[in-house]
Point group: C2
Chain length 512, copies 2
Amino acid sequence: MARERRGGGRRGKSTRQGGGIEQLPWQQVKNSYPKFELLNPDQMDQLHDTSMRILSEAGIRVMGDNVMDLFEEAGAIVDRDTQTIRMDESIVTEALKTVPSEFTLRARNAAKRITLGGDNMTFGLVAGPPNVHDRINGRRQGNYTDYCNFIKLAHHFNAINLIGNQVMAPMEMPANNRHLDTYRANLTYSDLSFHCTAIGRGRAMDGINMMAITRGQSVDEMRDDPGVITIISVNSPRLFDDAMGDGLIAMAEHGQPVTVTPFTLMGAMTPVTLPAALAQQNAEALFGVVLTQLVNPGAPVMYGSFTSNVDMRSGAPAFGTPENAKANIVGGQLARRYGIPYRTSNTNASNAVDLQAAYETMMSTWGAVLGGANIVYHAAGWLEGGLTASYEKFIMDVEIIQNMIEFLKPMKFDTDELGLDAIKSVPTGGHFFGAEHTMARYETAFYKPMLSDWQNYENWEAAGAKDALERATELWQQALRDYEAPPMDPAIVEELDAYVARRKEEIGSDEP
Amino acid sequence: MARERRGGGRRGKSTRQGGGIEQLPWQQVKNSYPKFELLNPDQMDQLHDTSMRILSEAGIRVMGDNVMDLFEEAGAIVDRDTQTIRMDESIVTEALKTVPSEFTLRARNAAKRITLGGDNMTFGLVAGPPNVHDRINGRRQGNYTDYCNFIKLAHHFNAINLIGNQVMAPMEMPANNRHLDTYRANLTYSDLSFHCTAIGRGRAMDGINMMAITRGQSVDEMRDDPGVITIISVNSPRLFDDAMGDGLIAMAEHGQPVTVTPFTLMGAMTPVTLPAALAQQNAEALFGVVLTQLVNPGAPVMYGSFTSNVDMRSGAPAFGTPENAKANIVGGQLARRYGIPYRTSNTNASNAVDLQAAYETMMSTWGAVLGGANIVYHAAGWLEGGLTASYEKFIMDVEIIQNMIEFLKPMKFDTDELGLDAIKSVPTGGHFFGAEHTMARYETAFYKPMLSDWQNYENWEAAGAKDALERATELWQQALRDYEAPPMDPAIVEELDAYVARRKEEIGSDEP
């Protein structure tokens, strides 16, 4: 179609305003569009019923007596020999009564308080990879320098609402106490809330204590105004180990939120069928949700979904697949059914920041948006199925998050916006560039991208023919140059450092 | 989160089965999920009312007496001096009564008949660029050899349901008769239906005649079983030139479908606001739809949406933007309101097959899916805002289409799929790889991608560390090697060639 073309010659060079990278303001976006109902009510009932039968007939195995005690007290059937807990639906129903449908989370900057639940949508930094990659220095083991860089980037880019659990593992540090250093980096290089590590009670308590120090509060004062959150992964199928149980209990006791996320890769940790995977995910997630309420009725908790498939030729995990997009959507239907805030992820399985990384990311991110996710975990920087944190991927993902934020903004809709007079004022075949209606709005009318380049081919070529990957490298480098640390009272820094030093002393080389 | 990682060592080398590229079968997918209602009913009414006022108060300028005669006869107010047609809503309402809510389209292969309308979704080849690009030979002018290659690729890859209007301009051929050569290539290198060029009556009639020859039918016999379709672009704002009017009339007279697509880039051809752009798009599209029914009540017609924005810094078109995604969705709401089959597009403004091309493509494609598009035009191969047809982009887009087809497949949902027994049969912390439930289904359980590579990093590196762009190059090269032309009766080839020769004689160097 001849007319469906870019006009020639009209575009100048794209310039960034001021010194810094132009970006959207810090915000928490609302996803107020109708939610996507992929399964019908009857199918949702069947999913629910199957989950309840998994809980009552198959049960969940746990590894801690503390967890067994709590469930026994609540009326569940606890088999101490096999460490298996079976329970009726009534126990789930009772626990769901006290689950808050939304709660807030904040670090030291109260202006960046986020609400989890309802229509609120937030985006978290990649968490967990052992490796890190950028286009200049290549792929390498996670380390503390890169760790800090990612926290700085998360602070610099407004699209990031919260920090996940260790953006990467700083491998050169002792495994048993490096969480203290990463917490300190989170708290000083950014003013965002973060996910603490809840493998065991010690790491959870350190996160809570250090956030309390940073906010100048006691742990008690933080009880009704949470500052940290954590992910409790279920060892699917149907296994909660004791470190997870202990971490969950510590968080819930102190009023800090927990996200219960079964690790349900279809074909490996669940049957190969989506309904079965979702039923199993639902049973496992609800088990953890119930546990939080047995520990502390009213404790904030999130419903986590991480269902994707494996490559049945190799057994390797696959992400950003059509099945993963469906699961992200149905996960949201389930969480809404129970009135629990919903966490899902932005994932992909590509080994490079390439076309595959981009389209897989978009499959899972659209699934998260349509599913009404309250947290999109790993929203920026995740590569290689979670084995690498990538600088360039981070930049692309920030652009994608910004696109989604703009997409989610409801259309302004009134007589002026309908613009009948403006339409009548321009002659047929004319243009609206100079129209009064245009001039009054053009500066803010459209989303201005950070990474996308809309120059025509000739100008783009003359400017070095840089593709989006090269431009992403320039952007993270510029962001690190432009980064400014959020100021912190030196007394608080001192207190944090003293806490870290004391805890390292206490922990020694043993696990906390 | 430590568990959210790809397992090591489990994956072998990914292999393609048989000799050819593994792909989904040829199909027409149904989009039976609930449609996304971005605007509420009151907003939809306001849009409609504004469109009606555009038609009655501002009017549409046309350049042909034939069009003015038809509207005058229908009761519109025709100002012959300014060539402006104004009409009441009643004329629109009357015309909409005879618009078919769906129709079919087929070329010589009746097995590849497609239905346009309802829940049916189809994907068309890129159309219109003056340039072509691949990673081996670089960017060059459109030419007949590359033209034929793209038709072969469209035939080879089942994801493509129909061919657009000239995948690229074969610039070395005379502008006034090259449509005959491109039609011939469409008809012989593929067995798909295609968009003929309807700039003027002659090119439209050539498309209809040549399709009739290929089907072994008369033009009259094709009247109730259309074989070609066309796009009529409106010169927004509010201008229909005479070549478009003549083309539309020729198609409608012969019962061949027309898609009326206003060229509404916000800020240039419409006001900068989305409601105004959509109201104007709607007025212009409905004007063309009405015209088809005045020519031939019951003639098949589609509602086209091409609303995106421009970069207000340069005036350059932008595609795959958040605004474009919203417009793709609301375009579908409008088309459904009037019961007209819906066409939108997969677009992007990137100058390279890069991350930007991928995520912009996904923004517009998800908009098309959520909008319930019946045709996604330019679904594979469009680059540079439509200035270049790209081989590698074609391959990525086929992968994206396949992902969407899989996403749109309703989840199989029954007791077996819910898999309670399978879940109970695997011990806690175990795996489902060898389970009977898995073994019975694993070969077809998940979508197997064509372009994505799910090997682990080590295997991927050992295999040459090819990113998706490099793999895309290999795939189109392999497809061209594997391509087999659909057989055609030599008598029909002879008749086609005779038609082309005769018409070239008739046309000479003048416009048809």
